[in-house]
Amino acid sequence: MKRFISETRAVNVVKRFTCDELVELLTAYLEDALDQAERDGVQAHLASCEGCGRYLDQFRATIVALGDRPQEKLSADVRDRLMSAFRQRQRH
């Protein structure tokens, strides 16, 4: 188990997080929704904790995998029906 020890000169501005607190903040961290002190704390923790660094890598890999969905397409007859509904509308 690794413990994050903040640098003494930054002690007042860098927040310290445990691993389970850190994992809870990752989406907010990736969305840039943390304040400066929290962001610094997350970065400092990640720099010194292999487990959380690995978790963040996997979290990112998960997001990439989610973006890789198979192609889906409207069937040709539904598309034709919609095009003709659009045309019809013009006549009203």
Binding site: M1, K2, R3, T18, C19, D20, V23, E24, L26, T27, A28, E31, A33, C49, E50, G51, C52, G53, R54, Y55, D57, Q58, F59, A61, T62, I63, A65, L66, G67, D68, R69, P70, Q71, E72, K73, L74, S75, V78, R79, R81, L82, M83, A85, F86, R87, R89, Q90
Partner: protein, 209 residues
């Protein structure tokens, strides 16, 4: 054909003016650019591909019908997606009365690995293989589809809009009428669960050393 690949849609006022003027090329372009994502979003509410296609069709019919009344208080895309979500929700509720659909009863399928145990990592988890091989990539795609189906409905729609469709958090809040904080919590829970299922999978296919 007429799709606006890579998000190169013209500005909203151009789109709206063209649609009101009956510009078929513009309508076809929107149809071909957005329907794919709309099918996936619809699929997160209803239980079959066929129902999803009907939801998307009904959404476009409502768009055709309503474009004259569009007031521009949101983007065109957000407006279309709001109609989509409302249409899909109604359909989903109707189906759930007649169809036993496990996702509605889902109470958090067992994910063994959600994060560090209290006190930190006993040892870092193994790095995941890069899914280079087509076999692995396609297994992962299947797993993701299954994982999405197992998520509680609110988490599923948020992660689908954000991570599958690439909507921004502002767009998702507008489409679903939820706060930014709520959106983030749902997204985070969903990502943790999907990551956990992927971790379980990679653990199960690990090559012996």
């Amino acid at each position: 054909m007429g799709s606006f690949a890579g998000g190169a849609l013209p500005p909203d006022d151009v789109v709206v003016t063209a649609l009101r003027a009956g510009d078929e090329t513009m309508f076809a372009g929107l149809l071909d650019t957005w329907s794919q994502g709309m099918l996936r979003v619809a699929r997160s509410y209803v239980s079959t591909d066929h129902s999803a296609e009907e939801v998307v069709q009904d959404t476009w019919l409502a768009v055709i019908d309503g474009i004259g009344r569009f007031e521009g208080r949101s983007s065109v895309k957000t407006w279309v997606y709001r109609i989509l979500v409302n249409t899909a929700k109604k359909r989903g509720v109707r189906e759930s009365r007649t169809l036993p659909w496990s996702a509605f009863e889902y109470d958090g399928a067992k994910v063994t690995d959600l994060g560090p145990p209290p006190g930190g990592w006993p040892e870092p988890t193994a790095a995941w293989p890069t899914p280079e091989g087509e076999a692995l990539a396609s297994e992962v795609r299947g797993l993701i589809a299954e994982a999405l189906g197992r998520l509680p409905p609110r988490q599923r729609i948020v992660i689908t809009l954000r991570d599958v469709e690439g909507c921004t958090s502002d767009e998702v809040c507008d489409i679903l009428d939820i706060t930014a904080a709520n959106q983030r919590v749902l997204l985070h829970r969903a990502r943790m669960a999907v990551r956990g299922w992927l971790a379980d999978y990679y653990e199960s296919v690990k090559q012996p050393e």
